[in-house]
């Protein structure tokens, strides 16, 4: 349903060469599929999401590549046409519920606005739909709360409102960009539960963007791991978690502190830090931090290989040779 | 990553700000041009006797209300005196009054503001509430009242304008000091046992200077503006003293006979105020990059 091919995002920098935080990303999302894009900050995942919506910041643009939604190419659309697509066919829920709602308008007004942007409905009916939606996302007493302002809600409740706004026009694809990072763990769990239910009920395609591998593994069917602006590993969620193929995925999983860990064992952090888009290492972007690196890794960028059912970009995948 | 004692690092960080501010400022084209223009203005007005082409009292009865020409770049006035010369000499008064008044306002304001900051609690609150109230009123209005009370003259202008702008400076002095009082190096100094308010003031004051200078530049601009306004209605600098405002007034009364007479002093005032505003704005932006 949603197909991304070789997406490259470029940011112009004052008086210097432009940088490319997204360097050729390809994936697809089918109806009802839950896709996870996992990576650290700086991997380019959020910019990918923004570019799908056509909401890149002023200095950024899609340099090359295509995005197809239901067969229709999004990259060349005018602002007017894009406005139609946003909310109606593809929607995003963002990370910061505290500031993502207009503080001056009631919550109900904002949901109604989202509904009316895509459908010609009367005020009365829109309001009823809004209340029903708010109930659906688990907001208590929606008939009363619909006239409250955002500052009267907690973070978790605001995020529910955001989700309500995102799905109200029945989009095909929902992008959730770190939807629960700003929330405490219990709220996180509840929101993800609610999201799961909605996704199943409405057969939405979901792209969950997160740095939390565990979250992605629990929620998603398939996972793409991003590093240095490229997808370095793709596969079924459970499989990537249990048997990672790319050294980066492996290192990520190793660094998770499970409760059942041996307390004396040091935390296996990945040494170094993720590369900035203007300081990308030659060859494979991960090689300076990779435990398995060889000379070849610094010279040549790896091409995608199929290894044990995953697609990975590595010269020397974990667990031995190509399948 | 290890972290060294905050006190050591912070001390090194504290004094470096003043000169780097200056350098960063001059890199901005608008600021550099403004600084240059204001320096030129100061030089030509203070050195009016050197730069003026004629004597300010040299009347030329053959050439009354002459339009601008090569001989008289700004034209002449009702007595045939060269207007450019009069503008330069007038500038001397205007700038003198402005600088003196601003200095007064800064000193008084800093004293007021620092006291309010150091004496937290209701004394500080009252001091600031009064300052707020005074700031809310238009300066021209209050100026007129004070002129009514104390008469108009060059000296009274300096004092009145100084007094008028003290509340604004007091406010900013207080808020800057409050910020410094919460900074690490101050807490470190106190915890190390730095004695006496005076020693601490020697640490804190230099760090508040950049902000105060920026505000001072803006105040200077407004003082020139208000002095010109008051002199224009005849309630500021009194003849025979000349300032840009009095020149404008004379130009205004002779409006129908010479357009250049009021226009040139007006343009000079505009230039001075504009340039000082730009300089002040840029100073503020340089010191707080989040604002630019």
């Amino acid at each position: 349903m949603l197909e991304v091919r070789d997406l490259v995002v470029e940011i112009t920098v004052h008086r210097r060469a432009p940088i490319r935080p997204v360097r050729g990303v390809s994936f697809e999302v089918r109806s009802g599929q839950r896709l996870g894009i996992v990576g650290e900050s700086g991997s380019g995942k959020s910019l990918t999401a923004l570019s799908l919506m056509g909401l890149l910041p002023p200095r950024a643009r899609i340099a090359s590549g295509e995005v197809y939604l239901r067969g229709r190419e999004l990259t060349g659309l005018s602002e007017r046409e894009l406005a139609h697509v946003r909310g109606g066919q593809i929607s995003t829920v963002y990370q910061d519920p505290m500031s993502s709602l207009n503080p001056l308008q009631t919550v109900g007004h904002q949901v109604i606005e989202a509904i009316c942007a895509h459908e010609d409905v009367g005020r009365r009916e829109a309001r009823d739909r809004a209340i029903a939606l708010l109930r659906d996302v688990g907001l208590p007493e929606p008939e009363r709360r619909v006239d409250d302002h955002p500052h009267e809600f907690s973070g978790g409740m605001r995020q529910r409102v955001m989700i309500a706004m995102a799905i109200c026009a029945n989009p095909d694809v929902l992008i959730a960009d770190e939807p629960t990072t700003a929330l405490d763990v219990t709220t996180q769990a509840r929101i993800m539960e609610m999201l799961e239910r909605l996704v199943d009920e409405r057969r939405l395609g979901v792209i969950l963007i997160t740095h939390d591998l565990g979250l992605a593994a629990a929620f998603c069917d398939d996972i793409h791991v991003m590093y240095g602006g490229r997808i370095v590993e793709s596969g079924r969620a459970a499989s990537v978690l249990r048997e990672p193929v790319h050294p980066y995925s492996e290192a990520l999983i190793e660094s998770i502190c499970g409760l059942d860990r041996d307390v004396d064992r040091p935390i296996a952090a990945i040494s170094g830090h993720p590369p900035l888009p203007n300081e990308l290492p030659s060859g494979c972007p991960f090689h300076p931090r990779c435990g398995y690196a060889h000379d070849l890794c610094a010279r040549e960028a790896p091409r995608p290989l199929e290894v044990r059912g995953h697609l990975a970009e590595c010269h020397f995948p974990v667990g031995g040779a190509r399948s | 990553m290890s972290s060294a004692t905050p006190a050591v690092h912070a001390d090194a960080a504290a004094p470096a700000r003043a000169d780097s501010v200056g350098r960063r400022l001059l890199r901005r084209p608008a600021a550099a041009v403004s600084a240059a223009v204001i320096l030129i203005l100061i030089v030509v007005t203070v050195g009016a006797s050197l730069f003026a082409p004629y004597s300010p009292t040299a009347a030329n009865y053959d050439l009354l209300f002459a339009p601008p020409s090569w001989a008289h770049l700004f034209g002449t006035d009702e007595l045939g005196r060269d207007l450019l010369t009069r503008v330069l000499y007038g500038g001397r008064t205007s700038l003198l009054v402005a600088f003196a008044a601003t200095t007064f306002a800064m000193v008084a304001g800093v004293a007021w503001g620092f006291t309010a900051a150091l004496r937290e609690g209701w004394i500080g609150e009252i001091l600031m509430r009064v300052a707020d109230m005074l700031m809310a009123m238009p300066v021209v209005l209050l100026g007129l009242v004070l002129v009514a009370a104390f008469g108009a003259s060059t000296l009274s202008m300096i004092i009145i304008l100084g007094v008028l702008f003290t509340p604004a400076t007091a406010r900013i002095a207080r808020s800057t000091l409050l910020v410094e009082l919460r900074s690490e190096y101050y807490l470190a100094a106190v915890s190390v046992g730095a004695s006496g308010l005076r020693i601490v003031a020697r640490e804190l004051l230099p760090n508040t200077l950049p902000v105060l200078t920026a505000r001072g530049t803006l105040v200077l601009a407004e003082v020139i503006f208000v002095e010109a306004s008051l002199s224009f209605v005849g309630l500021g600098v009194q003849p025979p003293d000349t300032s840009w405002g009095t020149l404008l007034q004379q130009g205004y009364s002779n409006l129908y006979r010479s357009y250049s007479y009021p226009i040139f002093p007006g343009l000079v005032i505009l230039l001075a105020v504009l340039v000082l505003n730009t300089l002040g704005d840029n100073l503020q932006k340089v010191m707080d990059p989040s604002r630019s």
Binding site: A83, S100, H151 | A136, V140, Y252, L255, P262, G266
Partner: protein, 320 residues
């Protein structure tokens, strides 16, 4: 909401009283005795009986607190006191002039906002470099240029050279509405430019700030068109700092009105004020100044209430 308004009302009344005390004291502290000036002589040749009579007439023989109380009491009854020099009461004098000043101020506000708001919004919708440079330049010059300079330029340009509009005097609105507007237009534009510039200086950066706010991204993400995002989400939020600064803008307006009335020879409250300063007519002066203080406090109150309507966060007690 009501509690918020009530609180602000109480503070305002308190401030008015505080202001009146300050004004009163200031007048009494002034050196020089107005009675002597009124009698037109120096201390030596003044008849002590005449002096005492004048003092009694002006109420200056009572003690200071008594004077204050009677002044305030009179004010509350609408009696603004009497001019020390002419035989008119301040109320009469001010009443004659009020129309001119009010018309000027209102027109200037309207013109100022009509320039500032569309210009700022245009700058936000079309991020064209040239346009924004022009707008910033206009705003910078607009606040740097003294009102009387604009006035003079307009007089020369439009009044004298082109002869499109009258350059002085005032026609009462009741008598001749169209003529009144004509005579007010030039002064109102003069003042309005300053208002526009001050407003733009706050509104434009505010719109830029709002542009990068999260909820704007959300609004766009909902599928709203650019103009809907700007009008419904950006502008209301960006207006808040501008409305908060309205008090300062009104202050500039009043100060500027005094000058503009002088330049255009308009018989308004501003010229009355200037004249009273020249004549040391303290009766008029103290009443006018107190009126000005009240105007500011009321403006500030209105601004706060307006903000309360606009921004629901202000109505709740800060529980941060």
């Amino acid at each position: 909401m009501l509690r918020y308004i009530a609180r602000r009302l109480v503070t305002s009344v308190a401030l008015v009283f505080l202001g009146s005390v300050l004004v009163f004291l200031l007048m009494r502290v002034i050196p020089g005795d107005p009675t002597i000036t009124k009698l037109g002589g120096t201390i030596k040749d003044v008849n002590p009986e005449a002096l005492a009579a004048i003092r009694h007439q002006l109420g200056l023989d009572k003690s200071i607190p008594e004077q204050y109380v009677s002044w305030i009491a009179d004010m509350a009854h609408g009696d603004l006191g009497n001019s020390y020099f002419s035989q008119f009461s301040v109320t009469t004098l001010a009443g004659q002039r009020l129309g001119a000043t009010l018309e000027l101020a209102l027109m200037a506000m309207v013109i100022g906002l009509l320039i500032a708001v569309p210009a700022s919004v245009a700058g936000a919708i079309w991020p064209n470099r040239v346009l924004n440079a022009v707008l910033s330049g206009f705003a910078a010059i607009g606040i740097a240029i003294p009102t009387f300079v604009i006035g003079i330029l307009l007089i020369i340009g439009i009044g004298v050279e082109l002869e499109w509009l009258p350059t002085q005097g005032y026609v009462s609105f009741q008598r001749d509405p169209f003529g009144s507007l004509q005579s007010t237009l030039l002064p109102a534009i003069t003042l309005g430019i300053g208002v526009a510039a001050s407003t733009m200086r706050i509104l434009r950066p505010s719109l830029v700030d709002v542009e990068s706010a999260s909820f704007v991204r959300t609004a766009k993400g909902k599928g709203l068109l650019r103009r809907q995002v700007v009008m419904r989400h950006e502008l209301p939020n960006a207006s808040i700092p501008a409305i908060t600064a309205a008090g300062i803008i009104v202050a500039h307006l009043v100060g500027g009105a005094v000058i503009v009335e002088y330049v255009f020879a308009r018989p308004g409250l501003g010229t009355l004020l200037v004249d009273s300063v020249f004549q040391r007519d303290y009766g008029v002066l103290q009443a006018l100044v107190l009126l000005a203080v009240i105007v500011f406090i009321v403006t500030s109150l209105v601004v706060d209430i307006a903000l309360g309507f606009l921004d629901p966060r202000l109505r709740t007690k800060a529980v941060r």
